[in-house]
């Protein structure tokens, strides 16, 4: 039974310009130990999906339908109190985009992490501080530095602190939103290596949200591609990168540059991502699809399981 | 232009702003058509000798003054004067403030130092006493009053604009303008000013209320132009005939209320504008 089971999730935003269908019928499963890369361009709905899971949506958002089962409990039906005490941090943690800039500058980093632990677990302050020191070792920072303030850490180190914080109550699943985007190449590699290590050591399950396919190929065993609020394809990472079936996935992979291997040419995907207030009829990708047929502009494609674990939403699959 | 329409939509959301705008427009209308709306002329010799300092009646809706002039007509014509002084003085304030603020912010260095210290000097000198001194020296005429009020009010605008220009000049599109060879003058006129214009307008609106108040204060103190009867001048004469002690309420209340309402209306408008223009208050 999957650790996380998202079924037919719909989250819409009401804005001055209309209703934005940010997440429109999204389904995903994560087994224990999986690292799922949720890839897509800006505005495709990946961050909104994460915020829906955590129930951290802004006030103008509404979850219209769907279920989010974590350890067999539908998170969308729990009250805020239980969610805060029992779920967040203890079962599920999130590393937000730019989280390293969200550390409170007037508190020591160790205190900030300890605060989170004490809120969720009934242990003494000293025991919690010991845990903080252990966490620092785990993420590769000298434990004595827990007494320092955020401004004394560099960008990469701050990101490690944030990861330590996310791990502090031993969650089953971590959602990381663009965890390495703002970092330099070498620091990025250090953090990615850390995340791979943690997965191995702790059996951690992970959802990594990013637009950077190379980061996903590097760390995730499964990949889901989102476009305009929908998941167009998901499968093991090897399948997605080597045998992509959806035209959008194919376009992305074909154009994603690499420092080694075959030199890729330029076959850009024409057009640009659609407006989510009035997305195209039928398949949302059809205006940009080189293989679009008549039915594509009329009917939304169903999700077909091509082979075990490989799901595609495209009329071509029939 | 589409941005004016968007601005209009945002403005409509502010109830205070709409209230202020309505009051202001009412006064503008009344002043513009004073000639038509006023029942009686208000020349110093055109008063009705038989109705001196009479309370409101069916003939003179708001009573009369010591020269027999109709108060309602006085208020209508007075509005024209007060509003004109307020707007013109504010224009002067805006021009000086913009020149100083933009130049200081854009050029920086010694220029900025000198200009900002100059601004500080003006900031330190209290407004009303300065105006009183200048008005006494220059003579109390309609145009002098506009000048005097304009000269003391520009410091706030200058400071706000300088701050805005300081952050604006670091923007990439300014560097882009330099990269194609645009001169400083061109950059200021075509790139900086259009982007600070909303702030200038917002500043101006806030200052009109204050200018009208200053004009009224000066007139009340006797430094106004007797040939141009403003609300302040009316109050001045009201006091000089002892309205407070003799309870000539119809002489005191109308000009006072008008000044208050107009200044209030500008405060409301300014508040609504601030909500729209100030990037920190705006949510979007």
């Amino acid at each position: 039974m999957p650790l996380l089971d998202i079924q037919n999730l719909r989250t819409y935003f009401s804005t001055r310009g209309g209703t934005v269908k940010a997440v429109d019928d999204v389904s995903l499963q994560i087994e224990r130990g999986d690292a799922l890369g949720l890839a897509g361009e800006s505005g495709c709905g990946k961050t909104t999906t994460a915020l829906t899971i955590m129930n951290l949506l802004p006030s103008n958002a509404e979850v219209l339908s769907g279920k989010v089962f974590l350890n067999d409990v539908d998170l969308l039906t729990i009250d805020e109190e239980t969610l805060r005490k029992e779920v967040r941090m203890k079962q599920l943690s999130m590393v937000f985009q730019g989280a390293m800039n969200a550390l409170n500058p007037v508190f020591r980093v160790g205190d900030q992490i300890r605060q989170g632990i004490l809120t969720h677990e009934d242990i003494t302050k000293e025991a919690a501080w010991e845990r903080v020191r252990e966490l620092f070792s785990l993420v590769g920072i000298n434990p004595d530095r827990a007494r320092e303030y955020p401004h004394e850490f560099s960008g990469g180190m701050k990101q490690r602190v944030i990861i330590a914080m996310a791990l502090s109550c031993n969650p089953d699943l971590i959602i990381a939103d663009e965890p390495v985007t703002a970092l330099d190449v070498i620091i990025q590699a250090q953090i990615l290596e850390l995340m791979r290590d943690l997965r191995e050591k702790l059996g951690l399950s992970m959802i990594m949200i990013t637009h950077d396919l190379s980061v996903i190929a590097d760390t995730c065993n499964k990949t889901a591609i989102m476009y305009a609020g929908k998941i167009v394809e998901r499968a093991s990472s090897i399948t997605i990168f080597k045998k992509p079936k959806h035209p959008y996935t194919q376009g992305l992979i074909a154009n994603f540059p690499s420092v080694s291997g075959e030199l890729k040419g330029f076959e850009p995907i024409s057009g640009s991502p659609p407006n989510l207030i009035s997305p195209p009829n039928g398949c949302r990708f059809h205006p940009r699809c080189p293989y679009a047929m008549g039915v594509c502009s009329k009917e939304e494609p169903e999700t077909v399981e091509l082979e075990r674990g490989h799901f595609v939403s495209c009329h071509l699959m029939k | 232009m589409r941005s004016i329409r968007k601005f209009g939509e945002q403005y409509k959301e502010s109830k205070l702003g709409l209230l202020g705008l309505s009051i202001f427009l009412l006064f503008v209308f009344a002043s513009a058509f004073a000639g038509v709306l006023a029942p009686y002329p208000i020349g110093p010799t055109q008063g009705d000798r038989n109705y001196i300092l009479k309370p409101p009646s069916s003939k003179y809706l708001l009573g009369t003054d010591e020269l027999g002039r109709d108060m309602l007509s006085m208020i209508l014509y007075g509005g024209k004067v007060s509003l004109t002084i307020g707007i013109l003085a504010t224009l002067i304030t805006a021009i000086i403030g913009t020149l100083v603020g933009v130049t200081a912010g854009y050029f920086g260095g010694k220029t900025e130092e000198i200009l900002m210290r100059f601004t500080d000097v003006f900031l330190v000198i209290p407004g009303l006493p300065l105006m009183i001194v200048l008005a006494s020296l220059l003579g109390a005429t309609f145009w002098n009053m506009i000048l005097v009020i304009g000269i003391q009010g520009w410091t706030g605008t200058a400071r706000v604009l300088r701050a805005q220009v300081l952050s604006l000049k670091e923007k990439l599109f300014i560097e882009s303008a330099r990269s194609i060879g645009a001169s400083d003058t061109r950059i200021i006129i075509k790139h900086i000013i259009p982007n600070v214009l909303p702030l200038i307008v917002a500043q101006m609106v806030l200052r009109i209320g204050s200018s009208i108040l200053s004009a009224s204060s000066l007139s009340f103190l006797g430094l106004g132009d007797p040939t141009h009867m403003s609300w302040g001048m009316t109050l001045h004469y009201a006091f000089s005939v002892g309205s407070l002690f003799s309870n000539f309420y119809w002489y005191l209340i109308p000009p006072g209320v008008c000044i208050t309402l107009v200044v209030l209306s500008f405060t409301f408008i300014g508040y609504a504008l601030d909500q729209i223009v100030n990037p920190r208050i705006r949510e979007r």
Partner: protein
């Protein structure tokens, strides 16, 4: 792809920024003035029609280099020659002429367009500044070249009505409207969506092919340089550590820093090697640099000479220069 004519020569370029301290420190401190040596002595050539990549991590000086070459920042010392013009000794009037032949495309298409200027005014501004007439025709052609079609539809639109990719095309139209010889492209696609990047890069190639433009392509993304650049130079703390033709540099990096960079870049292929960390630590502050090679504190192969002498950038293999005493 590129001819042999050299259009840009840079020699010993330096840009130092004084470190600002408070007034009291300035008055009472006896230490010599400190500088951030952002660019500290680089020399290279760019040929006609060549796309020359300048790559490195944040703080290495690549962005500053681009600005100084165009004199958007005044240099501390060094020489830059564009064609036969000595860029740093140009008078104000001559500098204006120079701006016609050397342009820049910025990284952020959301900030580099004036939000209150129509597209037409923005693209035609270079023409207005240099008093070149025929605006409508030239702007139409420029917009057609950057594939904003039909051009007339874009004339009276404003930046906020356009997507990131479209804005960047507008920025390119403005940069090329004066027929420059040389364009500095400062991370031109890093803020664009992945599916749009290729089309913008393709556009840059088109301009190179049709108009003979050379580029200095500044980036932190080594994978993109492979698609775009003919030659790459790697910068670290203000100096070049290695320079070679793209394929050669990426497949045979000789400097330990380049090696570290190349092995750290993740590859979009789950079956390929994972990104590897071969050096430790982080980029140090560029203010108090240790003597000798700047990379020595992090270098796994450092020897004694490395802490005494700064290595020169020398050609070790044909067309492949490295600044390293050890040269693995």
């Amino acid at each position: 792809m590129s001819s042999d004519e050299i259009i840009l020569k840079v020699r010993n370029l330096r840009k130092w920024f004084p470190v600002r301290t408070g007034i009291l420190e300035d008055l009472f401190s006896r230490d010599e003035k400190k500088f951030v040596k952002a660019v500290d002595g680089i020399s290279f050539d760019i040929k006609k029609r060549q796309i020359y990549g300048l790559a490195g991590e944040s703080g290495c000086g690549k962005t500053t280099t681009g600005r100084v070459i165009l004199r958007l920042l005044e240099p501390t010392s060094g020489e830059v020659q564009l064609g036969d013009q000595d860029v740093f000794s140009l008078t104000k009037g001559e500098l204006n002429e120079f701006r016609k032949s050397a342009q820049i495309i910025f990284q952020d298409p959301y900030e580099s367009l004036n939000p209150r200027m129509s597209i037409f005014d923005f693209v035609s501004e270079p023409l207005v500044v240099h008093n070149i007439g025929n605006e409508e025709e030239r702007v139409t052609n420029a917009l057609k070249t950057v594939e904003l079609i039909p051009p007339e539809e874009f004339f009276y639109r404003y930046p906020h009505e356009l997507s990131g990719g479209q804005r960047q095309r507008v920025a390119i139209a403005r940069a090329m409207i004066l027929n420059p010889k040389f364009i500095v492209a400062d991370e031109p696609v890093s803020m664009l969506d992945v599916s749009i990047r290729s089309s913008i890069l393709k556009l840059m190639f088109k301009l190179r092919d049709e108009m003979g433009i050379s580029y200095l392509y500044i980036t932190h993304d080594l994978a993109t340089t492979r698609q775009v650049c003919d030659k790459i130079a790697i910068m670290y703390l203000g100096k070049f550590v290695e320079e070679a033709e793209t394929e050669e540099l990426l497949s045979n990096p000789l400097h330990p820093y380049t090696q570290a960079l190349v092995s750290a870049v993740p590859i979009p292929d789950p079956t390929a090697r994972k990104s590897k960390v071969t050096i430790s630590g982080e980029i140090p502050s560029p203010i108090d640099l240790p003597p000798g090679c700047r990379f020595r504190p992090r270098c796994p192969h450092a020897k004694e000479i490395c802490s005494k002498e700064e290595p020169d950038l020398v050609e070790v293999v044909s067309n492949h220069r490295v600044a390293c005493h050890v040269r693995v």
